[in-house]
Symmetry: C2
Subunit: 224 residues, 2 copies
């Protein structure tokens, strides 16, 4: 169905967004028109401002609005500890916990041959050369990758490429907060059983002692 030329153009653009089909794009375009010129101006200005301001951090490949992100340029953070994540937004999710004071490295994906995500499409070589450099001051690597085949493959590959020994940990796997035991899949439940820990450990994880280098990341399995 063809509407007016400028509505059609907007619908065409909106359809390029993920999860927005033809009907939904038409609904959004008509909604914008009905909300009036102020609404459309605010939205388009927000898009333009985002596109001109946001960029990848030159050090960790997270997202920020300057050349180096606030975390990488903060001398109060522990630069000897590097947390490897899949996506830029993972950084913000981990920051929201308030339980980590090191720096990050964003891979921008996981190894997945089926999706043509190979080593050269991800920020893996930059991480490895950072870790293999002679003047590297990193002593600890925390893998915060999704617990699935692609995450495990990526982790294994990086481990294989680094030449020096590091203290390497991965996020604890187990049951999420607030859920019923009966709703947990058996794989997760099996891991939660195998990785069970002494009840005193919880206290330490949630309220880490000042200067405690583990800072609440459960180092239940050191995967050297």
């Amino acid at each position: 169905m063809s509407l007016t030329p400028s509505l059609d153009r907007l619908i065409h653009q909106l359809q390029k967004l993920p999860g927005v089909g033809p009907k939904n794009a038409q609904r959004l375009a008509i909604f914008m028109f009905k909300k009036g010129a102020d609404f459309s101006r605010d939205l388009s200005e927000a898009i333009v401002e985002m596109a001109s301001s946001v960029r990848y951090c030159g050090v960790c490949f997270g997202i920020c609005e300057s050349d180096v992100c606030e975390i990488c340029s903060n001398n109060l953070r522990d630069h000897g500890k590097i947390c490897v994540v899949e996506k830029p937004t993972d950084v913000f999710h981990i920051e929201a916990t308030g339980q980590y004071n090191g720096v990050y490295h964003v891979l921008n994906g996981l190894i997945s041959p089926l999706e043509y995500l190979t080593i050269d499409k991800l920020n893996i070589r930059s991480l490895v050369s950072k870790l293999n450099a002679d003047d590297c001051t990193v002593g600890e690597i925390v893998f915060a990758l999704p617990p699935k085949v692609e995450g495990d493959a990526t982790m294994a590959l990086i481990k294989k490429m680094i030449k020096r020994p590091f203290e390497i940990s991965r996020l604890a796997q187990g049951i999420p907060t607030g859920c019923e035991i009966e709703h947990i899949d058996s794989m997760t439940l099996a891991r939660a059983l195998n990785n069970r820990h002494q009840m005193d450990a919880d206290k330490k994880a949630v309220n880490p002692a000042p200067g405690d280098s583990s800072q609440g990341v459960h180092q239940t399995k050191l995967i050297q």
Copy 2:
């Protein structure tokens, strides 16, 4: 979760769109960032152009990019026949059938006291004064309103407010094309049975004869 200031601002704006929650807004914003500046520029330009170009037609309240829409300003259309629809997009859906050559009047909603949609919030008085004017040349009204309580109430109200007799019809109700009889609700099936028509009528409706004034709108019930 707070990202960078300009991403947060964009997410805030995107959440105002219908059906876009916080997670979806964040996903859309990150998608736009990843697609690069060209994508965001095209989208924001399309929004701005739409907001500055599209307006309501001064005659029928449909949407167009000039003061009077192409249909209202087209002398080849039958201005003696007016089709009353709920939404501006309904005009384009009916036009897509190629079965109607009259003009339109868009109510911009249906009477619904529960949603505070009263007579003064809709384009009802303008329709009625057009129809009650001494120099009115309209002879036929086609109601293409949704077959539900609000549509019926709106139709009844308009019929009550018009003073002269008109040939009034409403869209045929029955089973939609391509569906299985077992999937039709009983109310629709009952109407399809009551409004059944001679099989020759179909031929006439789909291929109206040149100069045929009914132009395929099934006038199964004239509701005077």
